[in-house]
Amino acid sequence: MLQAVNEPRVGAAEVVRESHLAAFRFMLRARLLDDKFAALYRTGKIHGGVFLGRGQEALSAALGVSLKKTDVFAPLIRDAAGRLAFGEPILDAVRNYLGSALGPMRGRDGNVHRGRPRDGYLPMISHLGAMISVVNGVLFARRFKNISGMVGAACLGDGATSTGAFHEALNQAAVEKLPLVVVVADNQYAYSTPTDRQFACESLADKGVGYGVASHTVDATDLTACLKIVGGAVAQARAGNGPQLVVAKLLRLCGHGEHDDANYIIPELKNSALGRDCLKVAEEFLLRNKFTDAAQLAVWRSETIREIEEAVAQVQREPAPDPYAENWSAISSEHLNETHLENGH
């Protein structure tokens, strides 16, 4: 797991190499996994939406590798990389998309709505902004139990900063001085809505001061910058310096979901520096700096593809949820279940 890259020490160069390679591998795995979901979607194998993190892998992976397993993580829809880096098995992701009864949500919820709350890995509800205060509560509880040194990260997009939930939760974290890191992926659009219909500040990072929260800006097409800035923000939070707001600039390199061809994204943005593919940028960086070589990259790629294919093949043989075996109750207290409601009367 990454040691904060902005604290050089003996063997710093090696640490930098390691951290880049670790993050890159999660980026690659996420990209290939996303590609597979897109392919499954096109062939009608996935019910409901498919949401990709294409272009956001550097940011998401940098966050994931900056977190420890004992931290708290509330990813959003474009965080396949961060999820993998935080420890999610590919199998969980595949199971959730395909609705396997063995998946983390047992077919009850799907696609990006997955997590393991007991492991500090929170499964998003769809309502944007709603997970941040939940992270606050987890962090508070740990402090209450005298656990220290942990960090909680919550991800969201530019559009989600317009929600009341975001505001209330960031303010709450500031008041409670919680080790929260909010990572905003400003990818220029919320679904089809461009940022000028979403906010009027110069940069979303300008919001920090109004909460009494440190803020950071990062070019999310550049893995090195992400590792430094995101890693730094996580280190700041861990060190007890209160909530941190990271605003990352990038472009969504796909539709909102796979049903969307995103023809509204203007060419100027596609052709700008923001439109670079962080995966390619990182790959070139690794090769240029001889952190690895093309042969190794090819191995990683093919190994991952095999792993993904195997996972998909396995999950496709797994049982679908059985409505007759299903426990149709929304509460855990069995003695409070109403037989009257079980079958909708």
């Binding site: 996935i46 019910h47 409901g48 939406g49 609705g99 949500m105 077919g107 009850r108 919820d109 799907g110 696609n111 709505h113 509800i125 769809s126 309502h127 944007l128 559009g159 989600a160 317009s162 929600t163 009341g164 939930a165 919320a190 679904y191 089809s192 809505t193 219909r197 979403q198 906010f199 509204y264 679908a320 949820p321 059985d322 409505p323 007759y324 299903e326 149709w328 109750s329 929304a330 109403e338 009257h340 409601l341 079980e342 079958n343 909708g344 009367h345």
Partner: protein
Amino acid sequence: MATEITYIDAIREAQAHALRDDPRVFIYGQDVAAFGGAFKATKNLAKEFPGRVFDSPISEDAMVGFAVGAAIEGLRPIIEMQFADFSTVGFNQIVNQAATLFWRTGVPCPITVRLPFGGTSGGGPFHSQSLETIYAHYPGLIVLTPATVEDAYSMLLEAVAIDDPVIFCEHKFLYRHLKAEKLPTEALPVGKARIARVGRDLTIVAYSAMVQDALEAANELLTEGWEVEVVDLRSVKPLDTDTVMASVARTGKLLCVGESWPWGGVTAEVIARVASEGYGLLDAPPQRLNAKDTPVPYHPNLWAAHRPTVRAVAAAARKILRS
């Protein structure tokens, strides 16, 4: 206009019509402008009506408050929620701002809040909810639940014309499932239920997508010799008790079907009214059928079992018919 008109087309056309006929109308919601809405309900409208269809930030609370302010000034806003489920974060402005304005001040609040609602396979717990009950429970709101292409069109037109806040529940499953030859020029007014099918043995009361399931169940039962009457409520608030009661008077038997959760809600309200006021009309206990009391599941197998199916409706009907 196309020769085959879907339910979503009808919703688009009703909005185009309203924008054309009434300069006070505008549309506000996430991605409704150039993009034409997540479901394409506002396709091309921003181009056809410049300055009158525009994108909002992801701020459901402020979207509704904004509409109320505009309504105070005499405009007729249409608000699109991207999914009904997200109206929970605009809930307060709907139930406490919009719904109370007229009663408190005498100034009407003619806003229409469009809620793409109801279950679809793969939608999951947060893109499938049926929220007619929580809005109908609060005083001050009109809650509409069209079940046909024609009603989607005429009721949305009427919704915009009504001087009170209207919660317009448009069923996502019907969007592309239902088709009609042409748009209606005449329609039953809001507040009147419709006899969707005549029968003498049993009354099934349904609304929105469940009307289709009720009709299919009625078809199935016909092969067994039962003639089932299907009442489409159209509007759950106001609720046309008279039409329901008249039907029950003819059939003596009542089954009420809804896609929302079982505790409280439309089916409870219908049965309670009939039991209180039409007790003598019944010659069997009235029954109800709803979704199960859990969030709406993601997996198609679970989803299909969560809501009442045609088979479940038919089975419940059979039980009453044989009692």
